[in-house]
Assembly symmetry: C2
Homo-oligomer: 434 residues x 2
């Protein structure tokens, strides 16, 4: 059976086996510390064990809720920010067709809000969904995150105007802390349906909890497949061997590269449907590592588009970069290049070739050209756009992040710096002190 | 009258007036060299003079063509990559409502293709537009750019199947070189309607030529306003005074910051509608500067979303960053936060406040927090989402790029490194030699 796979031949000359061996000796210690829960942030590593994050009854509940929503609703509106939205958005965009909300027969439409404070965005969205049967899933551990809470207030009032106060109860589902917080209290008092967020899993690691799974299931995606894929890779990414464990290999290479002045990592995606996987990846690595003046800055590109945009910079700019390609081996569609008698564009040498074959060649050519230009690179291959493989990918990146952050000497599971702008914002807004 | 404006108080302590004065003495020389056309890449600075890039008859022709298309077509499909697509996409996304293609009364729908080689993307798009009245605008100076040419072949065949070979002629508009190249020959031989790309303007500077203007006009946007805005800023950005010329000030600050190890610039946008303005900006700066091992790596964020994603990294990660905020002063919509009796989320202190007021406060708070955290930053303010202000913004960034690149000692108007992957790709694909 195929799996998500990792290869790194294009780091030769930048990373030696001696260096990897030396890093691996530290990874061994981290491996033990994670098992014994003796690492920094050890109260936030629940995601490590996929089965512990969610039980069968909960999966069944999510699946049945989603089935009901898919039958009775036109619009599923997910409210959340950061880790409460990027994982679900990544899965939906990767596994659904491009432009999925625009297809007439797609139901429910899936929209995200509460991730920003743009009046125009919210206003346009409300216009768009007016008159349709809406269900809202509000996702926030505390229930007081400004963006999501403010948007929820607006949406709730909007629903009340449409349906009347009494009926609104059935239009709202909360995903929040099991016991505490504003949203939990609201759910109890108003009688909203609710799903729990585990205590020991932080936002950016929460895609395989109810946080991600409910929106994903509502998009008609097989969440069991997603969880099975993650469980596959829980095993694979726990093997104490650098060659057999892609997460340990990837983390080790990243560590060596950053000690050599490679301060930017580009995730170069070869499919537009990977865009939000990249956004999720950026939060995962950036928020886990960016502490104490350290960390690799995570950037994403969409190829081949961006070969005609940032390609010049990657090829010949400052040599502080390395790159991780993210490719899909087998697409859903096949489209071949037609032959053209006149051949004015000179493309007849490609006639009969699948467009995706050229795409794959563009990947190979850029990986090789960038390497020769001074940008070491690796490749993560996804066999197909399926829930199982996406589950594998999610787990692979999460485990890599944990190892990477611990190698760097930071707590990869906290985000103390996110408070800085909030404090200032609350002061400017005149938020009352408790 | 208001204008796009630039402020830089949050670089204090990083950039001194003495340093700026010293950079300005070089800018003066560049200013003269641009006027005398004695700078590197002087055959590609046609965009400097807005009126010279496009004449009134051409604007009239574009406007009338667009009017006809808006009356008779359901789908406007723009094929192009890099500079042949990002400017138009930026304008359409910034000036149209969010989700514009999803509104029933929006016509024509505007789609972009030929910017990638994804079989799934193209296949999904073709399914989506089946049965609708389609017009295709293929944009390529040479007509042989692989992505666009391959996609054009597929689309042409698709149209032929739908409409028959004869009628396809009226469904295609070419934007290409005035005299030469594959697409120009095709236009002549097949009798396609066509628009010219000026000789002295490279792709990433071409948004205010037919390249950008036809798709923008087809989206129902006032292109005269766009051109007038650019002309406003042509004057403003030609004043030989650092305090009165925002492009010279921005370029000077960027130059000082990069000499101090600030190797990443983040364009932090406070509106989702600015996403493709950021993508356009990334190509503009990245492709102009990324040469000879130099250049600032351009990155974009979408706030406040990304404050809960990359915010941690910006606040406390490696201090190799500076930031340029891009904000919109007055939105189209106003949405106020409702009061809630129970106040479980504690947001009643914001009741009655406009959501955009909180957004603006989030901007102020993050600018201040990032500055105190070691990230100098500047702000570009757009008074409103109008064509005129977007024209000002386009010109402002273009002029800044030119000055920045010339200060860096590179030719900001070429892109030699883009050939590297192409050469390898053609070899792998077995492209016949001419």
């Amino acid at each position: 059976m195929k799996n998500v796979s990792f290869q790194s031949k294009n780091v030769a000359g930048y990373v030696s086996s001696q260096e990897l061996k030396s890093v691996f000796s530290v990874i061994k210690l981290i491996h033990e510390a994670l098992i014994k829960k003796e690492c920094p942030g050890n109260d936030s590593i629940g995601w490590l064990n996929v089965d512990s994050t969610i039980n069968k009854e909960l999966v069944k509940d999510i699946d049945e809720t989603a089935k009901d929503i898919r039958k009775n609703c036109d619009v599923f509106l997910s409210l959340g920010i950061g880790g409460s939205y990027l994982g679900a958005k990544a899965a939906v965009e990767f596994l659904k067709p491009n432009f999925f909300n625009e297809f007439k027969n797609e139901r429910p439409k899936i929209y995200f809000a509460g991730q920003n404070l743009s009046a125009d965005y919210l206003s346009d969205l409300l216009k768009l969904i007016r008159g349709r049967r809406i269900i809202v899933n509000v996702i926030s551990k505390s229930g007081t995150t400004t963006e999501t809470a403010a948007t929820f207030r607006v949406i709730k009032k909007y629903l009340e105007t449409l349906y009347g106060k009494k009926k609104v109860k059935d239009k709202i589902i909360c995903t929040t802390d099991k016991r505490e917080g504003a949203l939990r209290r609201m759910a109890k008092e108003q009688g909203y349906k609710s799903f729990p967020i585990p205590d020991d899993i932080g936002g950016r690691f929460s895609v395989l909890t109810a946080v991600g799974l409910l929106p994903i299931a509502c998009a008609g995606i097989d969440i069991k497949g997603l969880l099975e894929g993650a469980a596959d890779f829980e095993k694979k990414c726990n093997i104490l061997n650098l060659e057999q464990n892609p997460a340990y290999k990837y983390a080790a290479i990243r560590h060596v590269l950053r000690t050599k002045g490679k301060t930017i990592e580009i995730l170069s995606c070869l499919q537009p449907s990977l865009r939000y996987v990249a956004e999720w990846w950026k939060q995962l690595f950036g928020e886990s590592e960016g502490k104490k003046g350290k960390g690799i800055f995570p950037v994403s590109c969409e190829f081949s588009t961006d070969l005609h945009s940032l390609g010049q910079m990657i090829q010949e700019g400052r040599r502080n970069l390395f790159e991780t390609f993210l490719i899909v081996d087998n697409l859903n569609a096949k489209i071949s290049i037609p032959r053209d008698k006149a051949n004015l564009d000179g493309l007849n040498y490609l006639a009969g070739r699948d467009i995706e074959y050229i795409n794959n060649t563009a990947y190979q050519a850029s990986a090789s050209a960038h390497y020769e230009g001074g940008v070491p690179n690796m490749t993560v291959s996804i066999p197909k756009r399926t829930p199982r493989y996406l589950g594998q990918l999610f787990y692979f990146f999460e485990k890599t992040t944990a190892i990477s952050g611990l190698l760097l000497g930071v707590n990869p599971f906290d985000q103390p710096g996110v408070e800085a702008y909030k404090k200032k914002m609350f002061k400017l807004l005149g938020k009352p002190k408790k």
